[in-house]
């Protein structure tokens, strides 16, 4: 288990480097990936596990982003990479290549739901912090809303 977590850490770290995350912020993303993998494995590796894992990563990313004042993506993207259903997508493709359409449909639906679980997990993770803070991002959108006062007057 410990080796597996180390490897998950390396995987998230490596993908953070591929996405050009600055050195200072490599560690949060890699740690999010490790914790995400821990949750994923301890819940048994099903789609439900993917959901809870990506929820955890999303929460860590939202919290970390506010702590370090960086975009959420810098932590979330390396974190979720180990969860991306690469194996499911491959078996779907293999079944299609072999002409086994029923198998492709089964595997494909499973893969689609795994991707959906990641999406919903990240989405729900934004709720708690939104409840605590008073919606700063929405606020600026409202105040900046333009009422056009006049059209440019003709230049003299």
């Amino acid at each position: 288990m410990l080796t597996e977590l180390t490897v998950a850490f390396i995987a998230a770290l490596a993908f953070a480097v591929v996405f050009n995350v600055p050195v200072r912020y490599l560690l949060p993303g890699a740690l999010a990936g490790t914790i995400g993998w821990l949750v994923f494995r301890s819940l048994g590796g099903t789609n439900t596990a993917i959901f809870f894992s990506s929820l955890g990563i999303g929460l860590l990313a939202e919290g970390g982003a506010r702590m370090f004042r960086v975009p959420v993506l810098i932590i979330a993207v390396p974190g979720i990479i180990p969860l991306v259903p690469g194996a499911g997508a491959y078996s779907t493709m293999l079944a299609l290549v072999k002409g086994n359409f029923i198998g492709a449909l089964t595997k494909g639906t499973e893969t689609l739901f795994a991707a959906g679980a990641i999406a919903v997990g990240i989405a729900i993770a934004t709720v708690p912090l939104r409840l605590v803070q008073r919606g700063g991002e929405k606020h600026i959108r409202k105040t900046a809303h333009t009422r056009i006062a006049s059209i440019n007057p003709p230049e003299h």
Partner: protein, 258 residues
């Protein structure tokens, strides 16, 4: 000191363009641009951004400035998004003026990639190896996944320098890794072919597009969310068609797959 609104328009447009070109979310583009325009002295600002372009109107008094910018090339360099974020904060805190902020943004635009190409290739290789280990591959297959992952990164880097369409280069990279793994399997039949291939194509997986798409949908930027969703799906399809075409040919000439 008089601030020209035309300068502010240039400033916010460049900032938005940098964020969008380097993988930031749409709401971040719009929010940063509005914040910077207001900090630069505009009274109102309206921005509409989609992944392919930005429309923005800022006005002060009776003057209105409207600009449109078309985004042609998008990559991922989260370091640049971070830098623009910092400049926007410093402009709001009046550490930077409109002119100095513009110069800083130009510097960010010229910034090279954060890591040299060699380190990115190695990172891709170790990512591939680690991923195939997580899927339960043996030591030898992990090593093969690492080597073919390096190959995939190298092919992608090469094709992107030649400015080949992204979907096409992803498909080619997928085909190359499938070929390489098939060749290795000829000499070493114990190779866990599927795990090695999955590991090596993980560096192509559209992780950033999925995450950005979800976050765009959350902020009700539904056009951007669907564009990025389609992009993620297209990349996945391109990988599958690259690997799949090679495997189909292999089956056709009489090979067998696990």
């Amino acid at each position: 000191m008089i601030i020209h609104m035309a300068d502010v328009a240039d400033l916010v447009l460049l900032a938005g363009q940098l964020i969008l070109e380097n993988g930031g979310e749409t709401f971040r583009v719009e929010e940063t641009m509005i914040r910077m325009a207001l900090a630069g002295g505009a009274q109102t600002a309206d921005v509409f951004a989609i992944p392919q372009g930005i429309f923005c109107t800022i006005n002060q008094g009776l003057k209105t400035h409207t600009r449109v910018v078309r985004i042609h090339h998008r990559g991922f360099n989260l370091a640049k998004v971070l830098e623009v974020n910092r400049i926007s904060r410093q402009l709001s805190a009046e550490i930077l003026t409109v002119e100095t902020a513009y110069e800083e943004l130009l510097k960010v635009d010229r910034l090279p990639r954060r890591y040299p190409t060699g380190i990115r290739l190695l990172a891709g290789a170790s990512g591939s190896a680690a991923f195939s280990y997580l899927l339960g591959a043996h030591k030898g297959s992990v090593f093969v996944a690492g080597v073919t992952g390096l190959l995939v990164m190298f092919v992608m880097e090469f094709l992107q320098r030649k400015e080949i369409l992204n979907f096409v280069s992803v498909a080619i990279a997928g085909a190359v890794t499938a070929l390489a793994n098939l060749a290795i399997r000829q000499f070493w039949p114990e190779l866990q072919f599927d795990l090695a291939v999955i590991g090596s194509i993980m560096v192509l997986a559209p992780g950033l597009a999925i995450t950005t798409s979800v976050r765009d949908a959350l902020f009700e930027d539904l056009i951007s969310a669907s564009i990025r969703g389609v992009e993620a799906f297209g990349v996945a399809l391109a990988i599958a068609s690259g690997v799949g075409s090679v495997l189909t040919l292999y089956l056709w000439i009489g090979g067998n797959l696990p």
